[in-house]
Structure formats: C-alpha cells, structure tokens
C-alpha cells in the first residue's frame, strides 16, 4: 500500500529546474532516507509532498493530491521543517494548548509524558530554551500526534550528538510502529544508516538510486583488497575505488560476494561511501 506515490514530478522555479521528472513510491510502514547534495531538490520534493508548493506531474500522498487537499491531508501528516521554527514568543504551555486545540489527533497526555522526560519548564518561552530543548519540545509535540506520515527535513541540524542520538532513539522506540511512515532527509547520513528501511539518492532533481536497506546490503559490497589482488579486483568492475592508508578499497554493485571474499575483507559499505561513489561522477556541476 503506497503512502506516497509520485510519477513524473516536476517543479521549476523560473529557469531553475528543481525537480526533473521524479518517480518515487514509498510504502506504508517504511522509514525512508532521502539523501542528496545541497540543491538536489530534496526540500522541493518534500514541499510538494506536504502541499506547500504546486507542481506538475502526478503525486498522491495517502491517496490525496497534496496541493488541492492540503487541509484534510494535514490531519494525517506531520512535518518538522527545521527544529528551530517554533515561534519564539510562545510559551511551552501555550504551544501545548494550541496544538491540542487545533489537531484532532494529538494525545495531550502523551505529549506531557514526553515533556516530563526533559528539563523543559512549562512556563518558559521558546526563546529562552536552548536549541536542543526546542528540538525536544517540537519532537514531543510531533510524537504525540497520531499521524500516518511523518516528514523530517533536516531535523537534527545544529544539534549536538546527545540530542541527535536521543532524537532517533525516541523516534524509533516511542513513535514508530509498523503502520506509520517516516521520511527523513539529512546530510548526516551515518547516523541514520541503522534507522532506515529504505534509501533514495536524489541529485539534480532526479532520483539517482532507490532501494530498500535489505537490497542495499545484498547488492553493494566494499572490499579492502590485499595489494597482490588489486588487479584481479579491478577486473570485476568496481564502481569506485579509493585509497585508505595505502590500501585500496573498492566498491561493487551486484557482484557475487563469494568472488569478492577471495580478494579481501568484504563488508557492507556505508551510505556515505555509496553516496560519494554514485554522485561523485556528477558532482560538482
């Protein structure tokens, strides 16, 4: 069952083409990581999904057209654009009252429970909180909403390691059940590698790679070759080669792991390495 389904999604800002015919499909209950360089079209794609911008092509989110049916869609979809956008004048208690009064799916008791685990005082204004606490507040509100789709656009931007870890831990443990869908974009790909179920690379407004993490682990392999095997290794047509401490590491797409095992130590590449390999040829432009 598709949560998000896009076909031929296009968006141009004047002469700049932000999205150039994007086809994507996100099933329910998946956690998708959308990874791409700056200016690749991630935010534009998310904005289209959230009904914040018009677009050409076909796009259905939870069965609705997000641009036309935004008001109904926002009851089932939650998003965090950047954790720093909570209004600075608002008190924590006012934010809680407002979201409770306005969102049909917010469970106030849950939100208060999440807030109780933090150091946030109810009477503080958002401008008095540190950036990490604002993120905690925003997340507490978001996680108490029973949404079907959660979109996170660079949610951990500017947060320290502790908060970032806590963020994803809470998300996985307290929020994610297998009927909800989460879409995350982030430049810090390393930390979400273990969180994702699906992966997409986007570049120049097009999807460069789309696979589930299980496929990812089966398909891509990285080998640190012993120097004497280097030539044989290159014969298998790696998609990328790099040197680390004088030894070659080669990245393969779809090559039988047993063959690779003979050449050296085989392991699953990190998303970051694959990203550089896939994008490296096209970037910068």
């Amino acid at each position: 069952m598709a949560c998000i389904e896009a076909r031929g999604l296009r968006k141009a800002f004047g002469t700049t083409i932000a999205l150039d015919g994007v086809d994507l499909r996100v099933d329910e209950g998946r956690i998708l990581g959308l990874v791409g360089p700056n200016g690749a079209g991630k935010t534009t794609a998310l904005n289209a999904v959230l009904g914040l911008t018009a677009y050409e092509g076909s796009l259905k989110v939870l069965g609705r057209d997000p641009w036309q049916e935004r008001d109904q869609l926002m009851r089932d979809v939650c998003f965090v654009a950047d954790v720093a956008v909570l209004p600075r004048w608002m008190r924590v208690s006012q934010a809680l009252d407002y979201v409770t009064g306005v969102h049909p799916r917010l469970d106030r008791a849950k939100a208060e429970g999440f807030l109780a685990k933090t150091q946030i005082k109810r009477t503080s204004k958002v401008r008095e909180l540190s950036k990490g606490m604002v993120a905690q507040l925003h997340l507490a509100l978001i996680m108490a909403i029973d949404a079907k789709l959660l979109v996170l656009d660079e949610p951990t931007l500017g947060l320290d390691i502790l908060f970032r870890k806590q963020f994803y831990d809470s998300l996985l443990n307290d929020y994610f059940d297998h009927s909800r869908t989460i879409v995350v974009t982030t430049n810090q790909v390393e930390e979400i590698q273990n969180v994702l179920t699906d992966l997409m690379f986007i570049n120049h407004g097009r999807i460069a790679l789309s696979c589930s993490m299980e496929e990812f682990e089966l398909r891509y392999a990285e080998v640190m070759v012993k120097p004497e095997q280097a030539a044989a290794a290159r014969a298998l047509q790696p998609i990328q080669e790099r040197q680390v401490f004088g030894r070659s590491i080669l990245l393969y797409d779809g090559v039988d792991r047993q063959k690779l095992a003979a050449l050296g130590e085989v392991r699953t590449p990190s998303i970051a390495d694959l990203f550089v390999a896939v994008m490296g040829n096209n970037y910068p432009q």
């Binding site: 069952m1 914040l52 911008t53 009851r75 956008v85 009252d97």
Partner: protein, 311 residues
C-alpha cells in the same frame, strides 16, 4: 470542547481501516484567535496604558483645580458638557490608541510569521490558510473593539468613582452629576461607534493585512506609499484631489454618516442615543462596497499565504 470518542479512523479511498483512534473535536478559529492575543500582548497593554495615563492625568488636574471645577459644574448652562467631558475625552483617546494599535497589528500579522519562519510550524498543523487569515482580521474587527469597549467602560467606572469621591461640595452634588450622565446610553452609543468603525475601516485593515502577507520588507512603506503616490500623481497631472478626498472619506467619513451633525457650541444632547443614525449609515453604499473590497483583499491574502513561504 475536547470530547474523546473512540472512533474508527476515517478511511480514505482504498486505505485499510485501523482499529481505534482518539479523535477529538477541534476549534481551529477559536485557538487561532487566542494565539493572536498571546502573541500580541500590545493589543491589550497599549489601550490599558493610555487609560491609566488618562486617569492619573484627570486625577491630578481635578485635585489641582478643584474649586474651579466645582464652579464650572454648578453653572447650569455648561453643566452637562462639563460633567460628560472627561468620559468623552477618555473614550476618544482610548479609541484612537486602539485604532493605531490595530493598524500596526495588521501590518505585522502575516509578516512576522514569515520573517520568523514560524509559518512552517503553523502550516504543519491542520489549520487552513482561510482560518488563519480570518482569525487575524477578526482582531481589528471584532476582538479589539470588544477589548476597547471593556477598557473604556472600566475607565469610565473609575472616573465615576473619582467624581463621586472628589467632586461634591460647593453646591454640586453627586445626584446632579448622575442626572447629567446617561452612562448606560453613552456605553450603547460607544458600542455603536465601535461597530461603525469596524465596518467602515474593514477595507483599510484588510489592505494592511494583505500588504503584510505580500512584501518582503518595509511593510509600512509598501502600505502607505502607493496611495500617497497615486494622490500626488493625480494632483500633479490633473490638478485634482479626488483620490485624496476618497482616502479622507474612507478614514473619517463614518462620523457624519453614523451620527447626526451637532452645531458647534451646542451642549451635548440629553440622550446620546438620539444622535445615532444607523439607518443612514447602513444605507450608504460606501459601507457595503468597502466590505466587498475587504473580502477581495482577504481572499488575495489567503491565496498569498498558500503560495508563499518564509521570506
């Protein structure tokens, strides 16, 4: 307000129904208006401050010139005017403050959220652009007039108490004062004036709201300069002042339409309600055309909010 009901989650076409969900009834307009009041404390603080200043001023003035005041009050010709004057002055000053506060509120209403980028937070909640714009225009048209009324009434009550405590003596009694002070009728006339102002100025507030949602910076200049430029252009090219007169009409024209004109030095009438001319006001096409224009500006503001994001 919050009725928790176990209900089956709505099924959009083809989506499987999920067991039970807590879906509560919501009041987006109510909460949006409350949010506006939380955000803009100045809406209440400004008129209250002015009221306090007026009260202190009156107190000091009365204490300084008590004997003169009592003489003026005893003089039968000017008695009514002298008794009513502090109430009218207080009401007028607080009203002017409220109008200025409302204008500045409108200029920032749709601008602040874009400048702060909090618009992305508001848009992440299921409150439609229409509801948001309506909640914002309701401040100068409904909420602020009610707040102003409450503040003026409270001020009047304080003036009354001050009058009863300070003034009697020298041939002037509290009973005489009360006879010349049709306070409840004055308050009804005040409510009428607030309603008239809201209806008449609606297109101006809607214009300010539209500008605040549209421009990237200097909302005040964008709101004020185009009309000014048009008036200047007209005067220079055609040597006529129609546009300027139209603007003046739009700002001040409510008074001669809603109230019967009074000759200049006449004492205030015994019944303030006799000067009200609601029929004439409501039958002026300018009122209704103004409301249509306001509706158009608001529709444009809703559209702008849908299409535009942060600055």
């Amino acid at each position: 307000m919050n009725t928790q009901s176990d209900a089956v989650r709505e099924t959009a076409a083809g989506m499987p129904a999920v067991a039970t969900a807590n879906v509560t009834t919501t009041r987006p307009l109510y909460w949006s208006v409350r949010r506006e009041l939380w955000e803009n404390r100045s809406l209440i603080i400004a008129p209250v401050t002015v009221a306090v200043v007026i009260l202190v001023g009156f107190l000091i003035a009365a204490l300084r010139a008590l004997s003169h005041l009592r003489q003026a009050l005893v003089d039968p010709e000017h008695q009514r005017m002298a008794v009513q004057m502090p109430y009218d002055v207080a009401a007028a000053l607080i009203l002017v403050t409220a109008v200025i506060t409302a204008a500045f509120y409108c200029l920032d209403a749709l601008y602040g959220e874009r400048r702060e980028r909090s618009i992305l937070f508001w848009k992440s909640l299921p409150v439609s652009d229409t509801t948001t714009v309506l909640s914002k225009i309701s401040i100068p048209l409904v909420v602020l007039p009610l707040i102003t009324f409450a503040i003026i009434v409270a001020t009047h009550v304080v003036i009354l108490v001050m009058g009863i405590v300070i003034l009697p003596g020298g041939g002037f009694s509290a009973a005489t004062m009360w006879a010349e002070l049709p306070l409840f009728r004055m308050w009804i006339a005040l409510l009428y004036a607030l309603a008239v102002l809201a209806l008449w100025h609606a297109p101006l507030y809607a214009w300010l709201l539209l500008v605040s949602g549209w421009v990237r910076k200097a909302a005040f200049l964008w709101a004020m300069l185009p009309p000014f430029a048009i008036a200047v252009l007209e005067k220079i090219s055609f040597n006529t002042l129609y546009f300027r007169d139209f603007l003046k009409y739009r700002a001040f024209g409510w008074f001669p339409l809603a109230f019967m004109p009074q000759p200049d030095n006449a004492p205030p009438p015994a019944d303030p309600l006799s000067t009200l001319t609601p029929g004439r006001f409501l039958s002026t096409p300018g009122v209704w055309l103004g409301l249509v224009v306001a509706a158009i500006f608001l529709a444009m503001a809703v559209r702008q909010r849908r299409y535009r994001g942060p600055l």
